[in-house]
Symmetry: C2
Subunit: 200 residues, 2 copies
Amino acid sequence: MKDQSTEENILKAAISVFQKKGMAGARMQEIADEAKINKAMLHYYYKSKQKLFEAVFRQAFEKFAPHINQVFNSDKTVFEKITEFTDSYISFVMENPYLPNFLIQEINNNPEFSDLFFGSEIAPNPARFKKQIAQEIEMGIIKPIDPKQLLLNLFSLTAFSFVGTGLVRGILDLDEKTFKSMMQERKILIPELLINSIKK
Amino acid sequence: MKDQSTEENILKAAISVFQKKGMAGARMQEIADEAKINKAMLHYYYKSKQKLFEAVFRQAFEKFAPHINQVFNSDKTVFEKITEFTDSYISFVMENPYLPNFLIQEINNNPEFSDLFFGSEIAPNPARFKKQIAQEIEMGIIKPIDPKQLLLNLFSLTAFSFVGTGLVRGILDLDEKTFKSMMQERKILIPELLINSIKK
DNA sequence: ACATTTATTAACCATTTGGTTAAACTATTT
DNA sequence: AAATAGTTTAACCAAATGGTTAATAAATGT
């Protein structure tokens, strides 16, 4: 661990606390403790809890969006996109286990303010992907399918295990080791499942 | 709306508030307001916020568990189970949109106390389903597959859209009407996808 | 009708929590 | 070295929040 500026330490601590506990459950004092600074510093650098939360939300969204954009805006084939997204997304989330849940939860709670992000530069835009699907159908590479349903399947299969970890592990009675090895297996299983279902 | 006992009104209001805002975000005063009673009544009938929350959690779990148990413990074939679960679960969640998210969120936050439920009578137990899969593989009805991965696929495909509604709708740019009609479509698409992937 | 238990309320209380302030301490500039 | 600007802290504050209490009202039993 390198020494960092106080402001960076605060954001780091805020990310950790907000992602685990959410806006409502997070405590400014806990963030200060984790950053090992006086609580007043939080307000010195970030004005209010809301502002600090927004900085954390933005950071999370910016880390997450590129994975979606890789699917939406790259020049790969649909098959390649499915394979590569699954692999890179599962790896990414295993390193950032609280991130998808955090995004989902806070977007559900603050639809009004998260709209800002969906209108922004960085926000994923599915238009190009839709065209690609239409083309590959035309070319006879894949069956006629609804691109939105395909994306929903892809996101569901990759993300749900992590968002609902506790429930999933409870229902299927999985220890952590088994869960992790299943997630590795899914890097293969998911593309197989999806590609088989759409290839002609 | 029928007249109900105060205790029932409180639980109903608590369900509504807790499921939307979670334990941390819920306010006792808001629950009292929604139940149109004095805040002291909450403690008169339910002792503390924690106890009231537990009643809400239990109710949610008891409403949710039968859907899983229908898959785990009925005498249907695997194909029938997939088809019927998808249909009934999507219908159920469209009527109770906050429930899956609430369960997931609170189980992630309180792993220790939600363990109580996974050890209980009502809790789903995958053992019988595992046997059934082994049998149907033996009988040559389905390909050799890991029952846990099949269940994970089924739960992911059905539940994720609802758990991550806000994020999904933001990324895919869906209005409410489109979202709902896609969910209806999924009652057909999901069984098709899963059954095709396992049938011999 | 009276007594007793049950239900309900308004007012209150202690703690928690986000946020402020004034003073001190540490660079940086001149 | 003095002045200035930036950083950090302890102490404090007001509002929100979960919870209690004592008095009252309504129902129930005798």
